[in-house]
Every structure is written in C-alpha cells, then in structure tokens.
Homo-oligomer: 151 residues x 2
C-alpha cells in the first residue's frame, strides 16, 4: 500500500501530509522559520543526505511553500524563502514544538524557548474557535461532512 497517494484521500490532513509529510520536510520548514535560507545552511543544520535535501526543497518549491530566488549571479546561487502559503504552516510547527517540549524534552528541558518579541511570553499553539475566540478542546469540536464520507 506504499503507493497510496495521500492527495487522493478525501481529507485535509492527508492532503497536507502529501506536501509536508515526507521525512525531513518539517525539519526543513522549522529551519526556514528560524531564518535559514541557503542550501548550505539547511545542510549544516540537518543530518540529511544532500540529494534528499535537494529533493525536499524542490518539492516545497513545486508546491509553492518555498520560493527559490537567485541571490548571486557568478556563480549562480539560490536561496529558499517561505511564501505566505509556507508561513501559514507556522501553527503546525509550533504545535509540534509544544508537544515535544511538553512530553519528550527529558531532564534537560526544552532545547529552545520560543519567545514572543512583544512581551517575552512563551509561544504555544492551540485550537481556537474563529466564532467566539475561545480555545477549543477536541471534545468541544464536531466534524461535519460536506459531501463524501472521509476519506
């Protein structure tokens, strides 16, 4: 079943994972959110084979998550910058950080503190209601199917 394309499943989680669910991709995006832009920066940061990193960056560019821009002409060099579509993955990254910090950090505590520049508070991620603005627990939400059963 290795061949099942997540993009064919009638589900937004599956479709998102079809773009960002490959091994290393979310770590590339974490680095991009931390300001890394150049192939060598990603390569130094991640213990991933260069051909795999090349592939992941290409996929993200193809899906419009990163934009590839030339920043030097001789020799030609390119950098990778988050697009608005890529920026909108921020809650995914923060939610993964938060959960890892809470449950997997071990005795040393979280490796990085994510801090709000305005007030110095800790940054987290949560489900919220766009109607009333309140935080939403899993039990407080209901899935309403539009057309087909999922997936």
């Amino acid at each position: 079943m290795r061949g099942v394309a997540f993009s064919d499943l009638h589900c937004s989680v599956a479709r998102s994972l079809d773009v960002v669910g490959e091994r290393w991709t979310l770590l590339v995006l974490r680095d991009a959110f931390q300001g890394k832009r150049r192939f060598e920066e990603f390569s130094r940061s991640l213990p991933v084979a260069r051909n795999v990193l090349t592939d992941r960056l290409r996929t993200l560019v193809e899906h419009g998550v990163l934009e590839r821009r030339q920043y030097e002409e001789h020799p030609p060099r390119y950098e990778y910058r988050l697009t608005p579509k890529g920026m909108d993955l921020y809650p995914v990254i923060v939610a993964l950080i938060q959960w890892g910090d809470r449950y997997l950090a071990g005795a040393d505590g979280p490796p990085v503190d994510l801090v709000h520049r305005d007030c110095g508070g800790a940054v987290g991620a949560e489900a919220v209601c766009r109607g009333c603005g309140n935080p939403v627990h899993a039990r407080d939400a209901q899935a309403e199917y539009r057309m087909h059963p999922s997936p």
Copy 2:
C-alpha cells in the same frame, strides 16, 4: 542517512516526529480524534495494510499516545483510546486540517467542517502567546537556545 533517529536530534519538532511522523500515524490520530477506537474502524477508514496499521497502533501505545483497553473477553477484543498526552496532539491535527482546507481543498471546498459545539463557529489553529494571549506570527517570535545549538 535513513538511519538517523529523529529522537537523537536536539529539537522538539524532530522528537515529536519521531513519535508521530511515520506515514499513516497522523491519519490514525485524526481518526482517533473523530471517535474511532477499534482496529476494524481504523482499517475501514484508511487504505493502509493491516500489518502497518498494527505497527502504528503499537508504536502509539508504546509512547503513551493511545491506551489499549480490552472491551470484550470472548473473544478478547481491544480498543484504542487517546490518552491526555494523545489529546494534546489536537493542535497539530487541527493545524494540518486548516492548512489543507485553505490551500489544497480544490473546487469542492474542504471535505469536512470542524465546528465548535458551543457556538457553531469554525475551529482553527494558531500560534498564541501564553503571556499576553495574542496570536503570534512567525516574525513575532524568537527562538532562544538553552544549552546546545540545534541540532
């Protein structure tokens, strides 16, 4: 580099992905948040080989994300329920839904509406400051390293 364990990287995103980043795992969790509990329910919902599903459920139980409970004695049958640790993955799932809904839904629109039971509003996910309570954009947050450079 296939052998690099994400759990060894000094990064909470990597550590989280070491638990939930395998193919199918986040879709199993999506189903669990939708109330599915039994092997046959997951199996009917997901076009995944049964041995892979068995493996993913076992991993989630080993990490304390799901709890395996016997609900029938003859024959012995088990169900899988989200633990509090598992429940805390809700923002990850909602953030993936939100991004897929926004960018990958196509002409039919999102397959499912996630609705707040209290007020009927749409449920989303966002990064928020635990200090001031405001939503946080990627540009408004700063990563402060505690001990080691990452990773």
